[in-house]
Amino acid sequence: MGLRKVNAVVVGAGAGGGIVGKELAQAGLSVVLLERGKWYSAFDCRKDDLRNQRNSTLGNAFGPDDERDPRVVVDPSGRERIVRGSEGGYQNNAACVGGGTFSYGAMAWRYMEQDFRMRSVYGAVAGSTLEDWPISYDDLEPYYEKAEWEIGVSGDDTGNPFQSPRRKPLPMPPLAPTREHLILKPAALRLGLHPFDIPMLRNSVPYGGREPCMRCRWCVGFACEVDAKCGTHNTVIPKALATRNCELRTGAMAKEILTDERGRVTGVAYFDRDDRLQEQPADLVIVSGGAIESARLLLNSKSRLHPNGLGNRYDLVGRNLQGHTYAGANGLFEEAVYDDLGPGASIAICDYNHGNPGLVGGGLLANEFIRLPYQFVGQAPNHVPRWGKAHKDFMRHAYRRSIAIRGPAQEMPVFDSRVQADPAVKDYWDIPVARLSGGRHPHSIEVGNFLAAKAEAWLKEAGATYTWKSLPGPGLSAGQHQAGTCRMGKDPKISVVDPYCRVHGHDNLYVVDGSVHVTNGGFNPVLTIMAIAYYASAGLLRGWKGGGSS
């Protein structure tokens, strides 16, 4: 009511929305970027090991709010419970300007060529909706490059023979290797593996007008004290605002996408920071809230012509929710291996991403980010009691002598792992909350177990005197790697958006975030989300013919 019509409203200022906002604003479109969270800065780095996005024991540092944003989680036995943002099962990703990119670990992976055509490479998998993407690695390659150079990536993947071809090297060199790296590298080579420096969205040298990493141990889950982590909050969003074509509104909680009497999208209704309901008219609406919140917003946008929500004619919105099946191993060494050099994660292999006998897909393996003391408490092997003197002795002995290797196994999408709008539970603004249900495909667990065994073998070769595995459970996974709920495809009967992320049946509604991933690779997904955001923006701008009258 009364808000001036703009060319585009983007819901969510994370990895996807930040880039779309900037691309459209630079092309001259007027853009409103809505973000439900706050705009934090390096000054908000509290280095609080019990209150951050990795360990939310005492709450989330950067949202969502424990009281305002509940979700309903249905476990495999059908029991449902209301969970708060900092509790397990919530599948949280930060709610703030930059989204997950503000506090992430910042691994910057390109998916491999095979990751875009899993169905063709491996065939159908029973009980899974495994499909090919409608676009290929080659389609995205220029946009991966754009993300690497515009947002900023350090690392050196020239030692990775499995990666799909790139035209341009990474813009920044890797950080100096950690002690773990120096121990693991020769061991990997002895095993015939191909170790290399992990690409990271983190400054190793001054880049983009910001400082390099100072190598503190509070990295993944924390704001960066020196602003060395590269997210959308300190790269593209400031650029978008500098065009003066983009307005960022924080504390803005989207309620629904508005349509006219013919079912055409006309804007977004949202609650502003003072909880007043606003209607922002726009020529285009781009939904970039992450796989769970984007699906929720589409499902909550009901009208006479769209009784089940927008884009949901075939009951597909919210389905195929997936993340990664994390697995790996810990190894205990005779000497101290801890060197207090952040971020910790430094060396990786892609030998097990594809071509594993009898398995569909696989995943990378990398040494883990630094385990802060309280995080390490739960990583003791099974034979160590959970409490008492033996546990304290284990902590004291093992903390500086252990290495952890983990990897994200590519998940087999499951049709019934899904996001719905809960029929009963509402959030602070009286909007139906996301209801999560389903679980992992058994094959995802098999692949995870395989990766754990390989991680263990690597640690043994590196000289670990004792090793123990970290194996995946059957529960739903989404979390910070959430994806798949509005999958991309050419056929409207089996996909929600077209290959340029436009919702089937709509000419001005887009979903641009991890939701559109058909499969999620055996890699951290953020660089792919960024590449798709550039790719979708380019497609959108090619078809842009100017705004309609207001």
Binding site: L50, Y338, P373, Y374, K392, M395, R396
Partner: protein, 193 residues
């Protein structure tokens, strides 16, 4: 204005180690609490604090380094029970009472007066859900014990700013350097640095 509040919170009374660590921590907490209450804790009663301290001390016992009691785990838990853990108040009240009841039934003593062996035996029964149902629902007892283990670990290994891990004792034990004094930290110098 916020800066003023901040400085007030940071200033701590001098520590006096004359009545054991629990009492010391209790005394410093008393000066922080507002509203004129005479209780040393914000939520726990003195009896509850004594029991909780004894339980946590079995979870992380003292050796050449302080155990949970000496590291202020009770201060951590009491503070969180007034904050994000407000939702656990009821189970703490019931659970600590049940532990003392079980101890009285079995050994005719309060939990805090048991020997280490007796205390461990009772806690293992609690953990296994084998507490006599007449005292407390065994399933609830089990989940309460899990909660206390988790909270004790947090208070001992977590950041000292939350009330536990006094003088960063666990970090010194693990050989982890304390928070670096960089940038803004020079304005928020941690008390042990």
């Amino acid at each position: 204005m916020p800066l003023r509040v901040f400085v007030t919170n940071r200033s701590k009374p001098p520590r006096r180690k004359f009545l054991g660590l629990v009492v010391t921590a209790a005394a410093s907490a008393a000066t922080v609490s507002c509203g004129g209450s005479r209780r040393p804790w914000r939520f726990l009663s003195s009896d509850e604090a004594l029991t909780l301290s004894a339980v946590s001390e079995r979870i992380i016992p003292t050796d050449q380094y302080a155990g949970a009691a000496g590291a202020g785990v009770v201060a951590y838990i009491d503070r969180q029970l007034n904050g994000p853990y407000r939702r656990f108040r009821k189970i703490y009240r019931q659970g600590l009472m049940a532990i003392d009841s079980a101890s009285a039934a079995r050994f005719s003593r309060r939990f805090a007066e048991l020997t280490a062996e007796q205390a461990d035996q009772l806690l293992k029964e609690l953990e296994a859900g084998k507490l006599p149902p007449a005292i407390w629902d065994p399933a609830q007892a089990k989940s309460f014990f899990n909660l206390v283990v988790a909270h004790t670990m947090q208070g001992f290994y977590g950041d000292p700013r939350h009330g536990g891990n006094t003088d960063a004792v666990s970090w010194r034990m693990l050989g982890v350097p304390p928070l670096p004094l960089r940038g803004r930290w020079k304005y928020e110098r941690p008390p042990w640095a």
